[in-house]
């Protein structure tokens, strides 16, 4: 058989879609066909619902899906975080059991990493797993977990060895969420929404074979998951964009999208809504105020420059050039923009910032911006951690001396968790 080319793949996938894609199928029936055909995840290995294609040919397949308007495999943390980690670190049994239901949307997943006592220092986690016969017994608490209340599985990091330095005593587990020892409670945020959960483990059980990678090597596995966190948002964006068609599959798809996106409905406000600034200044009669004008100009300069910086990083990647500093700055930039935007909105709204909800400017939207913006500089790596990364990895500045290096984690001072 000859090597596939962009042309031959385009032909093949288009023909397959022509024969099989039918928006009147149930979403699940369609997704099962898709998973078994390998076209849903074309760059995955053939043995695991893929076709073993290169990234370039994978793009050709994705384009064909877009051209046809066909719905793809289920997006979300199952695909974006769990599946990629299982593919890289799971044994064949786990791959066989877990991957396909992620693609079809039957199983959803949540990420059980952060803890009340370990935020920036994730490897300092203290949720414990103790082996009892053929099962691991889990005790501890996780926090900031999206979808923990309805996910079937969790990606769980827990400490299995306290006598070695912190990174070496962690194991990565696949835990079933629906069991007596696992309790998820909604966590209300300062902006009033409850998009995340706290998860309490009290003698929860994990079968011995549900370890991803090896016992004590979970940190390396976790890095795989974390490396894919950034791309998660891209998948979600494409999902919203591609859900506009007609037919039974689309009706079901829109429900799925709405449920997946539910926790993120304040995220646009969190990012600062820079799109509203000029309009607001006009509406409030502040557009001629030189102080307001300077503030708006500064903000819009930041927004444009940051877009161009992202595009510079992308252009360098496409050309295969070594990554420059421009690629590491995005997270911090988003945070700066959000903060600056909230300030400009407050400047424009004046005493309006004292009111929220139906009494507040734009029916509470401005208030929502102000009380959501603080999340940006904390979630997904605080600004301080970002600055450490930029300072150390990009600028090559020396690390701050740490006091827990080389010490058994048992002997390292920790937070008291109630």
């Amino acid at each position: 058989m000859s090597e596939p080319t962009e042309e031959s793949i385009r032909k093949e996938v288009t023909a397959w879609l022509g024969k099989n894609w039918d928006p009147e199928l149930s979403l699940l029936d369609w997704r099962r066909k898709l998973a078994d055909s390998g076209w849903g995840c074309p760059t995955w290995p053939e043995a695991w619902c893929g076709r073993g294609l290169s990234e370039t040919l994978g793009d050709v397949v994705r384009e064909a899906f877009q051209d046809t308007g066909a719905i793809g495999v289920a997006q979300g943390s199952g695909l974006g975080l769990a599946a990629v980690t299982i593919l890289e670190h799971g044994n064949d049994d786990l791959k066989g059991e877990l991957l396909r239901p992620i693609l079809t949307g039957e199983d959803s997943w949540c990420q059980l990493f952060s803890e009340p006592g370990s935020g920036s220092d994730l490897a300092g986690l203290t949720t414990r797993a103790d082996l009892d016969g053929d099962e691991w017994i889990i005790n501890g608490q996780k926090v900031w977990t999206t979808s923990a209340n309805h996910a079937r599985y969790g990606m769980l990091l827990a400490r299995t060895n306290w006598d070695v330095p912190k990174h070496q005593g962690i194991t990565y587990f696949v835990v079933e969420m629906d069991q007596p020892g696992v309790e998820a409670r909604g966590l209300r945020q300062m902006n009033g929404y409850a998009s995340f959960n706290e998860v309490f483990f009290t003698d929860a059980r994990v079968p011995r074979e549900n370890v991803l990678g090896e016992v004590g090597r979970g940190w390396g596995v976790a890095l795989t998951t974390l490396a894919h966190e950034r791309r998660l948002a891209d998948g979600m964006r494409s999902m919203v964009r591609d859900s506009q068609g007609k037919g039974r599959a689309f009706d079901e798809y829109r429900k799925e999208v709405a449920s997946v996106m539910e926790p993120y409905k304040w995220y646009a406000q969190r990012a600062g809504r820079t799109d509203l600034v000029v309009e607001r200044a006009r509406a409030m009669g502040r557009i001629a105020d030189p102080v307001v004008r300077q503030a708006i100009a500064k903000l819009l300069i930041m927004v444009r420059s940051s877009e161009w910086t992202v595009r510079r990083a992308k252009a360098a990647r496409v050309l295969g050039r070594p990554p420059g500093p421009e690629g590491s700055l995005g997270k911090l930039a988003v945070s700066e923009i959000s903060r600056a935007a909230a300030d400009v909105h407050a400047l424009i709204s004046g005493s309006g910032v004292m009111l929220s909800g139906a009494d507040g400017p734009l029916n509470g939207l401005i208030a929502e911006i102000l009380v959501s913006a603080p999340a940006v500089s904390i979630a997904g790596g605080t600004d301080e951690i970002q600055r450490n990364i930029i300072g150390e990895r990009v600028l090559g500045l020396p690390k701050e001396p740490a006091t827990d290096v080389g010490k058994a984690y048992r002997d390292v001072p920790k937070n008291l968790v109630s």
């Binding site: 300077q294 300069i301 910086t309 930039a333 930029i390 300072g391 600028l395 500045l397």
Partner: protein, 376 residues
């Protein structure tokens, strides 16, 4: 719009950088900044001759290399990095573009080859004693006397105006206002009725002069009274070039601060390991990369003659002005006491930064212009 430099452009950058490392070392910068002339004629000849930098973006039919604005901007960035002391910005950026924008084909043929070859050093006189670079601020008058023009008034902040062989002057018809009645004129550096005074500048690496015209003879460049459009276009281009020059200096001064933070030991550790220093450097890098994106994007817009150029020029200048000042100030702070000494080079960049942010309009001015040009 391209978001990366081509391999050829990167190679060109390396060539320019190597040349400037040889010819514009810190010692050489210090020697030249103390001199009145402010540049070295033999270095200028090399820069013009073997490298052809003086004609880089001048069309081939006018004796130049025929490259675009991106190559020009890249050259400026490298010159800013090395604080090159030379009339390059005055001659190749300001005067040559003014002639290209305002002149007739015959005038371009006559004036540009000398500038492209580096034989003629030219400059552009716009601002007056008020230090404002726009049409409204021009008061110097041109009066027609027996078929030629006599110029009267004072131009100031003229870069390399004391050494230029050829001065392009923006003047207005007496009694006209704003954008009306503006014309470009070419005046010889040694013209009768022109007196030139070297000003003491905060940034000694960029020489500024005050030029007093008392009935000096000027040759009309282009069409009489039609100077407003070429003026604003020339300013946009000059501002973009300046922004790119600033980004080169800002990059260098940040690199120096970071390197110092790696080797300076206090309390038994390199000061760069303290988050107080590390985080400041990270923030500066973010701002610098943003400003760099703005400067590069504006240069690409100038190269493609994009309709957004007037807005982008303001955006880039505002952004680069803020960043260069902040980086230079922070670099002095990170260097500590040694950063306040004459011997340390940081103050040279600090002075260039402070002076460049005011040159051709401050960041506040450009932010206001930006909104107006965006129709806000």
């Amino acid at each position: 719009m391209e978001f990366s430099f081509s391999d050829e452009q990167e190679e060109f950058r390396r060539t320019v950088r190597r040349f400037l490392e040889d010819t514009s070392s810190p010692d050489e910068v210090r020697r030249l900044m103390e001199s009145d002339e402010g540049f070295d004629r033999s270095a200028w000849a090399k820069l013009s001759g073997s490298l052809g930098l003086t004609g880089i973006a001048i069309p081939e039919k006018y004796g130049g290399q025929g490259f675009g604005f991106v190559e020009l901007a890249l050259t400026l960035e490298e010159m800013g990095r090395s604080l090159l002391c030379a009339p390059y910005f005055a001659s190749t950026v300001c005067a040559a573009n003014a002639i290209l924008n305002a002149g007739t084909p015959a005038q371009k043929k006559r004036l540009l080859p000398g500038i492209a070859a580096g034989d003629t050093i030219a400059t552009l006189a716009i601002a007056e004693t008020a230090g404002i670079w726009n049409a409204d601020a021009i008061t110097l008058t041109a009066t027609r006397v027996d078929g030629s023009f006599q110029l009267d008034g004072i131009k100031s902040f003229v870069v390399d105006g004391h050494t230029a062989d050829c001065i392009v002057v923006v003047a207005r018809e007496a009694g006209s206002h704003g954008s009306d009645g503006l014309s470009f004129f070419v005046v010889s550096g040694g013209a009768e009725g022109l007196s030139r005074r070297l000003l003491t500048s905060l940034d000694p690496t960029r020489k500024l002069a005050e030029l007093t015209f008392k009935g000096a003879h000027g040759d009309l460049l282009g069409e009489l009274g039609a100077g407003a459009d070429p003026l604003s276009r020339t300013l946009d281009q000059a501002v973009v070039a300046l922004a790119n020059e600033m980004i080169g200096g800002a990059q260098k001064v940040l690199e120096t601060a970071v390197e110092y933070a790696k080797v300076r030991m206090q309390f038994g550790r390199a000061i760069g390991s303290f988050q107080a220093i590390k985080h400041r450097c990270a923030d500066l890098l973010l701002e610098l990369e943003h400003a760099k994106s703005a400067a590069y994007y504006a240069a690409a817009a100038a190269a493609e003659d994009d309709e957004e150029l007037p807005a982008l020029a303001c955006l880039a200048k505002a952004s680069c002005s803020d960043v260069y000042r902040r980086v230079a100030s922070a670099s002095i702070q990170i260097h500590g006491g040694v950063g306040f000494t004459w011997e340390n080079d940081t103050h040279l960049y600090f002075k260039r930064a402070r002076s460049s942010e005011a040159f051709m309009g401050s960041q506040d001015y450009h932010r206001e212009q930006l909104l107006q040009r965006w129709g806000i």
